[in-house]
């Protein structure tokens, strides 16, 4: 059973607010609060984002290295526990993985290190086929991303395609810089084109951060449109009623995903007036 609400329901199940007490008491939380007290490493209080940040700015290079090592140890402890837990729950976990993949999702996201698809969504290995590039772009002439879409749709038969951008995207910012960036020029040009398409709306947003945030959203919408323009998506949808395309934006300041609530059917109808590739 596939409908456009499934992705939304997954999303809703993920964006329930987290009680702060629970968040702070998470035993695996990799903050230096549990670090050895004899350490000279400053211990920023995670309850205050601002204080956190300013403390970090004051840290000496040496202290950061030490902090990162301690933090990393905890990360590995968590990973070990995760792997052991996986094996305890399902001894065949890795054997099954090597037998084949049957993902329900194709994730197209930004390369940015802060947006790991699996962890944001809680999806497990085997659940999502993943493509990540600078500023989550889907360009018609890019064989790289177009191959990913074709393979995911025609061969893996994914049910959902998620294009996920994020606020504060460095790629989007770089694209709007009045500077020659070499090999990045042809790639980032696509974002300038998105700006031009929505010039009137964007120009009147006085606040710079708000304007970039809106450009990030508009970029995701445009890339969703580009996904739908592909022959594989149009042909599969005509035949199977899937995949459904979703546009999401992640905010790493609050850890929440925003669903741009694309009307997939309407967007498909709209683009097919000109970009119809249903017949093969």
């Amino acid at each position: 059973m596939v409908n456009s609400r499934v992705g939304t329901r997954l999303l809703q199940s993920l964006i329930r607010p987290i009680p702060r007490t629970r968040l702070l008491s998470t035993p695996n939380l990799p903050t230096p609060r549990n670090a050895s007290s004899s350490s000279s490493t400053p211990t920023p209080q995670p309850s205050s984002q601002t204080r956190h940040t300013s403390t970090w700015r004051d840290m000496a290079e040496n202290d950061i290295t030490k902090y990162l090592r301690q933090t990393h140890n905890r990360v590995f402890e968590h990973n070990k526990a995760w792997a052991a837990d996986k094996k305890a729950k399902d001894p065949e976990f890795f054997a099954k993985l090597s037998a084949g993949q049957n993902p329900e999702y194709l994730w197209i996201g930004c390369s940015d290190s802060r947006i790991p698809a699996e962890q944001i969504t809680g999806l497990e290995p085997g659940d999502a086929f993943v493509h990540r590039n600078i500023a989550n772009l889907v360009c018609n002439t890019d064989l790289n991303v177009m191959s990913v879409i074709a393979y995911a749709v025609a061969h893996l038969k994914v049910k959902h395609i998620v294009v996920c951008g994020h606020y504060g995207c460095g790629g989007v910012k770089a694209a709007m810089t009045a500077k020659d960036l070499g090999i990045l020029n042809p790639w980032l040009r696509n974002i300038r084109d998105v700006y031009r398409l929505h010039e009137r709306e964007l120009d009147v947003i006085a606040d710079e951060t708000a304007r970039y945030d809106r450009l990030v959203e508009l970029n995701v919408l445009e890339q969703c449109r580009n996904v739908i323009k592909s022959a594989s998506v149009q042909q599969s949808y005509a035949k199977n009623k899937f995949p459904i395309v979703h546009g999401w934006v992640f905010g790493f300041h609050d850890g929440l995903l925003k669903d741009l609530e694309i009307d997939f059917e309407a967007m498909l109808r709209e683009i097919q007036k000109i970009y119809n590739l249903t017949e093969n």
Partner: protein, 242 residues
């Protein structure tokens, strides 16, 4: 219950963990120091989530994933990612990772037309098949020695994936941005293979570590501890797990 939904509920804890660690790492990001994190070039395959198999957390690794982890000099998508990570973020390591039973390698060995844009994308893999025809023909396609209809878990696919990683590392080493960073600030380039059946990552001893092992770490690297391979390199970035 809809079969798509349980995944979300079952992993609520890991999601909460991701969010909480995300908040904790905000400090790390505020003091963004990319010499501590690598760029990961891997396959889009759903079974190879880099953060999970490396034991890393949000903020640790810059990522590009495509079909069969191909690195082609004229692919602007990959080139833009490399430029951004190496020249602008100044990462300390580039890790190119292939994996066993890769669908792209299996398709390239199959010799059949895959359809649409995929045949063009897979052309470099087919080039490797042509160039190593005799060597590959001697290896079994499947574990039982079958002829290609199975899961592709055999040595022929594995060998093609290895050849592909090596070829990709050569392309990386020939990238002018990478070449300059290797020369000027000791950027390290690694090629490795993720074995789906064991969860282990193996260093293929190519790239900047060719011939000398990766900082003395050789052979099978246990999952999670793989980060050693990535982090114990030059520049004093000693983020070893032990």
């Amino acid at each position: 219950m809809d079969p798509l939904i349980p995944t979300a509920y079952e992993t609520e804890d890991s999601f909460l963990y991701a969010l909480s660690s995300n908040a904790a790492w905000a400090g790390y990001k505020a003091h963004q120091n990319p010499k501590f994190f690598p760029i990961w070039l891997g396959c889009s395959d759903s079974r190879c989530p880099e953060t999970t198999l490396l034991g890393l957390q949000p903020g640790d690794v810059f990522v590009h994933r495509n079909i069969a982890n191909l690195v082609c000099a004229t692919d602007i998508n990959t080139a833009a990612v490399i430029e951004y990570a190496v020249a602008h973020l100044r990462v300390a390591h580039v890790v190119l990772c292939g994996h066993t039973a890769c669908g792209g390698a299996i398709a390239a060995l199959g010799g059949q037309r895959v359809g649409g844009v995929l045949d063009t994308w897979l052309a470099p893999l087919r080039g490797l098949v042509v160039g190593h025809e005799a060597e590959l023909a001697e290896l079994p396609m499947d574990e039982g020695g079958g002829d290609g209809s199975g899961s592709g878990a055999g040595a022929r696919v594995r060998r093609l994936v290895e050849l592909n990683v090596k070829a990709g590392v050569d392309v990386l080493m020939a990238n002018v941005v990478v070449t300059e960073a290797v020369r000027e600030r000791g950027l390290q380039v690694h090629g490795c293979l993720f074995d789906l059946a064991s969860g282990r990552v193996r260093d293929l001893g190519v790239g900047t570590s060719a011939g000398k092992g990766v900082n003395g770490v050789r052979g099978g690297v246990v999952r999670g501890k793989h980060a050693e391979l990535v982090f114990r390199g030059g520049g004093g970035a000693t983020m070893a797990a032990r």
